[in-house]
């Protein structure tokens, strides 16, 4: 019989233990809120300790005190009034139990933190009622500048909360002698940054406003991630046209290389490898593709409503925005949106000698993305600027191209002596391309002494002549100059002799046409970064070297 009772008792104990052990939650009756233990490894991963509030009764003490669901309590702080020697002794003893420090609040308003080196050490205070009667020389109290005669109002103890047990003990202790407790909560900034990053890639219109607000708020650690996320959202919004084309389902007809490098990045984020149409089709038919197509139009409208441009224009200014990564992201946004209203601001960034060189260059790049409309501003900046400005403006003009840009560049090439700028100018002229560019560059080259740095550079320069549709790729791969291809050359005022031959340098991406009779070599290249997947035809300034290696 006794044996049986013992057994059932054991059983009850076991059951109780099991219930108790599996319970990682605690309902605080007094404050009327429910708390949960954190994952044990949160400490290692985010150096975070605490308990999380998972529910708050709105009318209970916690709710009235404005604690919110989801907050992480890392410290519970209690204040114990000191009225007697006993009060002080007990408070100091208790406060040193969990950690090695507490705060003494004096009646004159001072709050002094007293810390001992190790457990058992004394802070060096003796208290008579609430008046300090003795301070041990050299003790923490002495170095804390507490003097005999000071009056202690209270002892403030901060309890680090790691577990629910810590929490319960702290509360039990503090509620004994005071009717208020202070909770110190922590912000998991790493979690918020991760959330901002994810929102930047999800491409949803609902994220635009909150992220804009963060960027516009002062002093938040989240501003930089928010700016970068907005930059990605802007890039995604620019894919809208592409998505709409996809939606019309005629995926095969979409030129694979219609994207610039940033859009390409975004497409990669979306899992769209733009060069592989079959793959794209699969991606677009999976849930994300389908969803994003539905979302992209709304995102596009929100991003292009003008506010984004205003925001970006504001934060590219060095005197407004101290964080260079935010300025960089905002310039990138302007590059995507290409607003003519931002030309002046971008030129100002480009001309700002105190700005980071990379950002100035990025401003030049944004101007070249805006295109023809910024040519005049770039020419003006080039004319009045110092060497570094000329350098950036010249390469931007080279990217934009056109007669006006070319004339400025060639003109400068003939008048400027600075070799570094000459190099940039020659490169820019080659990028603008076509016959006048070749002529100008050949003249430059002939005027230079053999072996000079610039001459060597020019020898290896290839000038863009014109481009043709990608349908010629097959003709080129078969090493056969078709009638149509020959006609394309003729349309661009180049006649190919009958003896010209094609050699495939790299299947599907690079071919050389060697026209021995006319002593010309042309290089045909497919470049995804350039215009719409077309094939670009270049002529090297120095035919000899290429021709020789082609023969090999």
């Amino acid at each position: 019989m006794i044996w049986k009772i013992k057994l059932s008792f054991l059983l009850i104990v076991a059951v109780l233990c099991a219930i108790g052990c599996s319970d990682n939650r605690y309902y605080d009756e007094q404050l009327q809120m429910e708390l949960q233990q954190l994952d044990s490894d949160l400490d290692n991963r985010w150096s975070t300790t605490g308990v999380v509030i998972i529910d708050v009764k709105p009318n209970g003490p916690a709710g009235q005190g404005d604690l919110e669901k989801g907050e992480l309590v890392s410290y519970v702080i209690g204040e114990r009034p000191i009225r007697s020697t006993g009060d002080y002794k007990q408070a100091a003893k208790k406060a040193l139990e969990d950690d090695n420090n507490f705060i003494v609040k004096l009646t004159d308003g001072r709050e002094i933190r007293l810390a001992v080196r190790k457990r058992g050490d004394k802070v060096g205070l003796e208290v008579d009622e609430s008046r300090v009667s003795k301070v041990t020389p050299g003790s923490p109290a002495d170095t804390g500048n507490i003097k005999v005669g000071d009056t202690i109002e209270s002892i403030i103890d901060e309890r680090n909360v790691r577990t629910l047990k810590d929490y319960k003990e702290a509360l039990k202790e503090f509620t004994k002698y005071d009717s208020k407790v202070t909770f110190r909560t922590i912000e998991l900034i790493g979690i918020k940054i991760a959330s901002v990053n994810a929102l930047g890639n999800l491409g949803d219109v609902r994220s635009v406003q909150p992220l804009t607000m963060i960027l516009d708020s002062e002093g938040s650690t989240l501003r930089q991630p928010a700016a970068e996320a907005l930059d990605r959202l802007v890039a995604l919004s620019q894919l809208n046209t592409l998505f709409q084309q996809f939606q019309q389902a005629n995926v095969d007809e979409l030129p694979a290389d219609q994207l610039d490098s940033r859009q390409r990045q975004s497409a990669e984020i979306l899992g769209l490898l733009t060069s592989d149409l079959e793959n794209n089709l699969v991606t677009l038919n999976d849930p994300f593709g389908t969803q994003f197509r539905h979302r992209s139009e709304a995102l596009y409208e929100k991003i292009t409503d003008g506010q984004m441009v205003e925001l970006a224009r504001k934060y590219i200014k060095r005197d407004v925005e101290p964080n260079q990564e935010i300025r960089r992201a905002c310039i990138s946004i302007l590059g995507h949106l290409r607003p003519t209203s931002a030309i002046e601001d971008l030129v100002a960034v480009m001309e700002d000698s105190m700005e980071v060189p990379g950002i100035r260059f990025k401003a030049g790049l944004a101007l070249s993305q805006i295109g023809k409309d910024s040519v005049d501003a770039l020419i003006a900046a080039f004319d009045r600027g110092d060497a570094s400005i000329k350098d950036i403006a010249a390469s931007a003009l080279g990217n934009i191209g056109g007669n006006k840009a070319r004339n400025t560049l060639i003109n400068a090439l003939n008048t400027i002596d600075n070799p570094t700028i000459k190099l940039t100018l020659a490169d820019a002229v080659a990028k603008v391309g076509r016959a006048p560019s070749i002529e100008a560059l050949r003249r430059q080259k002939e005027a230079l002494p053999e072996g000079s740095g610039l001459r060597t550079f020019l020898d290896e320069l290839q000038v863009l002549l014109f481009n043709v549709e990608s349908k010629y790729q097959a003709h080129l791969n078969s090493e056969n100059i078709s009638v149509e291809l020959r006609q394309e050359f003729r349309d661009n005022k180049i006649s190919l002799s009958q003896s010209a031959i094609i050699s495939v340098q790299k299947k599907d991406s690079e071919w050389w046409i060697d026209d021995k009779d006319n002593q010309r070599v042309y290089i045909v290249r497919k470049e995804s970064r350039k215009v719409e997947g077309k094939l670009n035809i270049y002529e090297p300034l120095e035919t000899q070297s290429i021709s020789y290696s082609a023969a090999n």
């Binding site: 052990c21 599996s22 319970d23 990682n24 007094q30 404050l31 949960q36 233990q37 954190l38 994952d39 044990s40 490894d41 949160l42 290692n44 991963r45 308990v51 999380v52 003490p61 916690a62 009235q64 005190g65 404005d66 604690l67 919110e68 989801g70 907050e71 992480l72 509620t175 009717s179 208020k180 407790v181 202070t182 909770f183 110190r184 909560t185 922590i186 912000e187 998991l188 790493g190 979690i191 918020k192 991760a194 959330s195 990053n197 994810a198 929102l199 890639n201 999800l202 491409g203 949803d204 609902r206 994220s207 909150p210 963060i214 989240l222 899992g271 849930p287 994300f288 969803q291 979302r295």
Partner: protein, 297 residues
């Protein structure tokens, strides 16, 4: 009396030995010799010998296995009929025939040796053979062998078994997923790690509850009930691979302020690109913190 027995036994032994030698397939021996040699194109020539060996002796397990192992498409010109005979499918078939002629030996070899091979084609041929065993032969023995491999103390065995179970699981989730779920109780950490990976690779929704349990075990009171952080991270990743209704579970992890896997869950949701992720992510931005709150009671 005793001698009467001994003599016939001795004769039988000698006879068996002689027969054994005589029946050692000459093509098979030649092929094996070639492989050991350092001759030019030895694998290609050996494969020819193994083909002859099979013609000579249809049920020779070793010849089938070696042909499956060595025959390769790269020996033959494009469009040649022999090339089609060297496909992964055909090589797998030969490995399966080896198994059928000597079940115990070749099941062991396929699971613990062939899968380890550096050549991806050989690995795939072995996988093909194992799939055939699953469908046409002794499923139970195969699964026992794979269980043994995923519990092995050799990382290569665990990895290979994970790969095969994932491949089988995509075709037969109803059998493989419960088997893997049971293995989550295994005491070896690396085994559980591979099991979680396999569940992710299978991508079947039936694994969702148990994966969620693994993720949430981080806040268990007793240390022994808490799963290792890396495995919990992989479980989140697996939920991301499963997608579908797992999205809701990932959202719950993001919403669980005490979870150490919130960032992992966010990344999984980001990869899925599901719009159900947007709202909870925006809510995260509004979470309070970094302040002192006074509560009176």
């Amino acid at each position: 009396m005793k001698n009467c027995f001994k003599l016939p036994i001795g004769i039988i032994c000698i006879a068996a030995f002689l027969i054994g030698c005589g029946s050692q397939n000459p093509y098979l021996s030649k092929g094996k010799e070639l492989i050991k040699s350092d001759k030019r194109r030895k694998e290609e020539r050996a494969a020819q010998q193994f083909k002859l060996a099979i013609q000579h002796e249809q049920n020779n397990a070793e010849a089938h296995y070696l042909l499956g192992y060595y025959n390769s498409e790269k020996f033959y010109a494009e469009g040649a009929p022999e090339r089609a005979q060297a496909s992964i499918e055909e090589r797998g078939k030969h490995m399966f025939q080896a198994y059928q002629n000597d079940k115990r030996k070749y099941l062991e070899i396929l699971v613990f040796e062939t899968l380890r091979d550096r050549d991806v084609d050989v690995q795939n041929a072995a996988l093909n053979a194992l799939k055939r065993i699953y469908q046409q032969a002794d499923r139970k023995k195969l699964l026992n062998s794979l269980k043994k491999a995923i519990k092995s103390n050799d990382n290569r065995d665990r990895h290979d078994a994970q790969w095969v179970l994932a491949a089988l699981g995509r075709e037969h989730p109803e059998t493989i997923v419960p088997l893997l779920v049971d293995l989550l109780e295994d005491k070896r950490r690396e085994t559980r790690l591979n099991v979680v990976r396999a569940l992710g690779a299978i991508g079947n929704e039936s694994a969702i509850p148990v994966l969620v349990e693994v993720v949430n075990s981080g806040s268990a009171k007793r240390e022994k009930d808490r799963e290792d952080a890396e495995i919990r991270g992989l479980a989140v990743e697996a939920l991301g691979k499963i997608g579908g209704t797992a999205v809701e579970k990932l959202v719950e992890i993001v919403e669980n302020k005490g979870s150490s896997m919130r960032v992992d869950a966010m990344q999984a949701l980001e990869q899925l690109g599901d719009e159900r992720a947007v709202k909870p992510l925006l809510d995260v931005l509004n979470e309070q913190g970094n302040r002192e709150v006074v509560v009176n009671f």
